[in-house]
Symmetry: C2
Subunit: 214 residues, 2 copies
DNA sequence: CGTATTCTCAAACGATCGTTTGATTCGAAC
DNA sequence: GTTCGAATCAAACGATCGTTTGAGAATACG
């Protein structure tokens, strides 16, 4: 019955990903999603149970592979004395870049990911923390090994900044607008290159023992 | 009739700011807003005309003062040979910090500002660009003077990263969660201090003439 | 005072939301 | 061919959305 090579579930996930990226979770309706996926409205609740479950599935589909690849890349570097800061950053950012490079909607997903940070939805936050929190903790441990001069608190502050900048840059929210659809991949690769370079310098900055502002 | 010292318009703006920060523009309904403001539902359309106009007014109320203060701080530094990179960053970030420090809902507004980046709402983007784009251009010119080794393109990439990190950090989206309401101001000041330090190092990083990734 | 204007209020408007229902169609197993 | 579970469909559910209405209360001005 499907004229498309993709199943109904896959078409819903793809359309939802794209529309959530553009309009947000509350702003994109199931009627928009099912219309874009060319499926019946009831198909969402039939296949996923509810809109919230659909949102979770949009995340799970991408994050399972993304974080597996991140940990795999980290596994080749961890504990080795010759590992560089740039290499660990690359292990974290590279899979996200690859994801955004795959034609099948991954570029939209990184925008959805940025949405998740902006959403203060507690249910969503808990889901992400429970399912993928261990990845961030493993990377933090490796960064700590490479930056022993930083206190744990200082390190977490900086990793927080890197994560924010990564999310923001990959999601293409910035003032720098690309010219056309063809240049999107090149644009995103440039963003990642600049980001790794910038983040490495920021992480390496000497600890300030900050004085009161004024 | 108002038992509050604030007018109906002011109470609506304050409640809207807080709820937009938490639930987003589409996620916060006018019924939630008017209930929190303890005013009648129809008051929004009477005083502002529509929900979209209310959103614009939430921005205008804060950004007019914020950007005036930013340009004022920049005016004391621009063209002077002894100006430092940190001072210009401080001129950009400091007023945002002060805003988030004022008790009257400014802390919520910085989260609203971050929402604006995540929203791909063209109407909102156009409004912000038309009304406040000149501020970013003036700061870019001053950064260019202080970082002559950077190409214009390279500089814009880095400023884009700084803006993203600033927005993200000030909006308190990160993994670092503060313990209670009392510590919020101290938390935010720490975030700004770390951010200035991090951003200055990132901006000063030598130009990479980036090689192909691999 | 009376009058005009501004503001607030409960109530309802039509539209759209997420979800559910029940009938119908499909594809494999026997 | 018959049967049966899976999938799709049009239609409708109650709830909530932004917005509008018209009457009443508060305020300002003569």
């Amino acid at each position: 019955m499907n004229s498309s090579p993709f199943s109904t579930k896959e078409r819903i996930l793809g359309a939802a990903e794209s529309l959530f990226a553009t309009h947000g979770f509350a702003g994109a309706s199931l009627r928009q999603v099912t219309a874009a996926a060319k499926v019946n409205l009831a198909a969402v609740n039939y296949h996923f149970g509810s809109k919230d479950k659909l949102i979770e599935e949009v995340f799970r589909r991408r994050l399972d592979e993304l974080n597996t690849r991140r940990l795999g890349a980290l596994g080749h570097l961890a504990q080795k004395p010759e590992t560089t800061l740039e290499a660990v950053l690359e292990a974290y950012i590279g899979p996200a870049l690859d994801l955004s490079r795959t034609g099948g909607g991954g570029a939209a997903f990184v925008r959805v990911l940025a949405r998740a940070y902006a959403e203060h939805n507690e249910t969503l936050r808990k889901f992400l923390s429970e399912n993928y929190g261990h990845v961030l903790r493993q990377f933090a441990a490796e960064f700590q090994r490479l930056l022993p001069a930083l206190s744990k608190e200082e390190l977490y502050w900086r990793l927080d900044i890197v994560t924010g900048a990564l999310t923001y840059a990959m999601a293409d929210f910035g003032i720098i607008q690309r010219k056309n659809e063809v240049a999107e991949q090149a644009h995103r690769e440039q963003a990642a290159d600049h980001l790794v370079h910038f983040a490495a310098a920021g992480l390496r900055a000497p600890s300030p023992h900050p004085a009161p502002r004024g």
